[in-house]
């Protein structure tokens, strides 16, 4: 690996971490979700500072080159993350659907009750009119 590439890697990973931290700092992210990104960005920094680490892991996993290993690992990590997000999105959609239906049913019930009340007092008015 050339020196330039290493410097670029370090700068990019530090910038990524900084961006993630800033978003968390401004309370844009729930803590549960930020844990993954903190872990991810610290791996990036770790790998760029100590390139021996991915080399070692690559030998361990039996991949031909370190680059292959990094691609494989990162893609796998992202696929897992995506699957979890997909799960979460399904749950969110279900909840949203339930919520909207609940709100509509509730609104319907309230209107019926109001109409009933209005109807009852209206009926009373008619009766008094007939008497007169």
């Amino acid at each position: 690996m050339t020196l330039t590439l290493r410097i670029v890697l370090i700068v990019v990973s530090v910038l990524t971490t900084w961006m993630i931290m800033r978003k968390i700092r401004n309370s844009k992210l729930q803590i549960e979700d930020s844990i993954f990104w903190i872990g991810f960005s610290s791996i990036l920094i770790l790998f760029s500072l100590f390139p021996g680490l991915p080399d070692f892991l690559s030998r361990l996993a039996g991949t031909y080159t370190t680059a292959n290993f990094i691609y494989l690992a990162v893609i796998f990590l992202l696929i897992m993350k995506m699957f979890h997000m997909s799960l979460k999105m399904s749950q969110l959609e279900t909840k949203l659907k339930d919520l909207v239906q609940e709100a509509a049913l509730e609104e319907n019930r309230r209107r019926k009750m109001e109409e009933e009340e209005a109807g009852r007092s209206g009926a009373n008015d008619e009766k008094t009119e007939i008497k007169q």
Partner: protein
């Protein structure tokens, strides 16, 4: 209206909720309460309606943080001075609320009902977790909270507003740690808690491990660079 609102988060507590709330109504009529049914799959909501309890019935399950926040939104809307969490499974005893309330009047922002103020912690896995969180809080804030995982916490008006509005204000130790770091005054009052009598606990080993990782990372790392959103 009383000055103190008891928020009772209930998720699938059909077996316990009557015992807990009836006792409150019978023996502690001086406090107001609200049951937050967090989208339970069992008859919790039906039981509450049948008995005419004061109920916030969430149509979907939000988890403890969302349910508790609903309770505090209620407290904020009706202008309660203090709000306290009392679990729907009956492990928190209401007879200690008076002492906690008295402590609040001394000017604290948060008062925690603590199992270990005067006592030593028993040596179990659960207490190992409690000790780790205690250590993490001491490292971040320099203060000692003997029972950080106790759910029995009382908050003052200012914090009720903050909890009602904020993101990442779960009723968990990391929020307490964060608020302490921001200057909130926290006190502990000794209490005794009961073991849950009926129903199952949420705390399986995997959940416990996940909870610990989240809490430690959150207290030691994330809360340190969170910015506090104060009301302008």
């Amino acid at each position: 209206m009383s000055e103190l609102l008891i928020v009772i988060p209930a998720y699938n507590e059909a077996e316990n909720i009557e015992r807990v709330v009836n006792r409150l109504i019978r023996e502690f009529p001086q406090y107001d309460y609200v049951v937050v049914n967090d989208g339970s799959a069992d008859e919790t909501a039906d039981i509450c309606r049948k008995n005419g309890y004061n109920l916030l019935d969430l149509p979907v399950n939000l988890g403890l943080a969302g349910g508790f926040q609903a309770g505090l939104k209620y407290a904020a809307r009706y202008g309660y001075r203090y709000a306290v969490q009392l679990d729907g499974d009956g492990q928190h005893r209401p007879e200690y609320l008076g002492a906690m309330r008295a402590k609040m009047d001394e000017g604290y922002d948060i008062v925690i009902g603590s199992r270990f103020v005067g006592e030593k912690k028993p040596f179990t896995m659960r207490m190992l977790g409690s000790n780790l969180i205690e250590l993490a809080i001491r490292l971040t804030t320099g203060q000692v909270i003997k029972d950080p995982t106790s759910g029995m916490r009382m908050f003052n008006r200012k914090l009720i507003e903050e909890f009602a509005r904020g993101l990442n204000y779960g009723p968990e130790p990391d929020t307490v740690s964060y608020l302490m770091k921001q200057g909130a005054r926290v006190a502990e009052v000794p209490v005794v808690m009961d073991e849950r009598i009926l129903g199952v606990s949420y705390l399986t080993p995997i959940n416990a491990a996940r909870y610990m990782i989240k809490m430690l990372l959150s207290i030691l790392l994330i809360q340190n660079f969170r910015k506090r959103r104060q009301k302008a």
